[in-house]
Symmetry: none
Subunit: 224 residues, 2 copies
C-alpha cells in the first residue's frame, strides 16, 4: 500500500462514506474511540485522517458533539457522476478554470514578452520536451515552462494565481495514473505552442494552448 497509515485511513474512510453508502450526508460518525478500534488504528492516526477529510470538506467536526458527514459531499457526487471520487469533480473544476486562463495568458505573454523572456520560454519548452522524450519526470520542467509564460504577461495576479491552479492540478493528477497518456499529447501540443511563440503570434499561441487544455481534459475523461 502507498502512503502513510493516516493517509490510507483517510482514503478508506472516504470510500466508506462516498462510494459505499455507509453514511448519508449529515450523519454522525461513531466516536473516535470506537471508530479507531473498528479501523484498526490508534486514535491519533484516526484523528489525522479525520483532519485531512475535514480540510477536503468531507467531514465536519464539532467539539463535544461529534464528527459528521458534510452535506456538501452529496453535491460533489452529482457532478462527477461517479463512484471514484470527489476528486474528479474537483479536477473538472480546476481544469475548467485553467482552460479559461491559460490560452489568454499565452496570448498576452506572446505579445508582451521581452526578448530575454521569450528566449527563456523557448529554452524551458525544449527542456520539457527533452524530459518527455527521455522518459524522465517532467513535472518540474513543465511547471517552470508555464511559470515563465505567466511571468511574461507582466501581470502580478496571474503570477500568483496560475501556480496555485497548476499545483492543485498536479496533486490531483498524481493521485491517478493519467501521466502516461498525457505525455504524448503534451509533446505535440508543446511543439505547436513553441511554433507560434517563435513567430510571436498571440492568436496562434492562444489557440495552441487551448488545444493543449482540451487534450488534457479529454485524456482525463473530463467533459466540457
Amino acid at each position: 500500500m502507498r502512503g502513510n497509515l493516516s493517509r490510507q485511513t483517510a482514503e478508506k474512510l472516504y470510500r466508506m462514506i462516498v462510494a459505499e453508502g455507509w453514511l448519508e450526508p449529515g450523519d454522525k460518525l461513531p466516536n473516535e474511540m470506537e471508530l479507531s478500534k473498528e479501523l484498526g488504528v490508534s486514535r491519533a492516526t484516526l484523528r489525522e485522517a479525520i483532519q485531512a477529510l475535514t480540510m477536503q470538506g468531507v467531514l465536519e467536526v464539532h467539539r463535544g458533539r461529534g464528527t459528521f458527514v458534510s452535506r456538501q459531499v452529496g453535491e460533489v457526487e452529482d457532478f462527477g457522476f461517479g463512484t471514484l471520487d470527489g476528486v474528479r469533480g474537483k479536477l473538472r473544476d480546476l481544469f475548467e478554470l485553467r482552460a479559461m486562463f491559460e490560452p489568454r495568458v499565452a496570448a498576452l505573454a506572446c505579445a508582451r514578452a521581452s526578448g530575454e523572456e521569450m528566449m527563456e520560454i523557448l529554452e524551458l519548452g525544449r527542456q520539457t520536451e527533452a524530459c518527455i522524450r527521455e522518459g524522465r519526470d517532467r513535472t518540474q520542467a513543465d511547471r517552470d515552462f508555464h511559470a515563465a509564460i505567466v511571468r511574461a504577461t507582466h501581470n502580478e495576479f496571474m503570477m500568483r494565481l496560475l501556480p496555485i491552479i497548476g499545483q492543485a492540478v498536479e496533486t490531483a493528477i498524481v493521485s491517478g495514473e493519467h501521466a502516461e497518456k498525457l505525455a504524448q499529447d503534451t509533446l505535440r501540443d508543446h511543439a505547436l505552442l513553441m511554433e507560434f511563440f517563435e513567430k510571436r503570434d498571440p492568436a496562434g499561441a492562444e489557440h495552441a494552448m487551448a488545444i493543449h487544455m482540451l487534450h488534457a481534459m479529454e485524456e482525463m475523461g473530463l467533459e466540457k
Copy 2:
C-alpha cells in the same frame, strides 16, 4: 482567540514563515520535539498544525529527513485567506484577470444555471439597475449580481476567486470621478447581459460580459 489550538498553531507557523522571513522556501524546520517546545504545544498538536499546512502546500514532510518549507510558498500566499493589500496600484492587472474570467463565467453560468439560480441572477440584475437609476450605492447589489453568476457555474474554485475579483470591482467603483459615466455604460451593459441570460444564450452572454469589461477598463483609462 479563535479556533483550536492546532488551528492557532498552524496560523502562527504560517505567519512566521510567510509574513516574517523566519524561514526561506526550501529551508528545514526544527524537529518536532524542539518546535513543539518552542511554540508551547504538545507534539501531537504541532503535528496537526503541520498536516494542515502540508495540505495547503506550505510545508513538505519527509519521513526520516524532516519538514521543509515548500518552494511554492511565495506564490500560494494570498489565496485561501489573507487579505490582498496594495491592490490599488495593480488595478490594470486585476481588470485584466477579470476580463479573462467574467465572460467565460457568464457563458458557463448561462448554460448551467438552474431555474432558481437564473431567477436569482435576473432579480439581482434588476436590483442593480434600480440602484443606478435611483442614484443609490450599487456596490453591494453589483457584487451580489456577479456572485450569483459565479455560483451558477457550479465551480468551486471560481467561487474561491470571487473575493479577489470583488476587490477589483470595489476599488474600481470607489475610485471616484469615473463613476458617473461608468454608471451609464453599466446600465446599458447590464440590459444587454440580461437579455442574453433570459434567452439562455451562452455565446451572447459571453460577448455581452466582454463588452462590459471593455467599457469598464476604458472608462478607467486602463489599456489592454
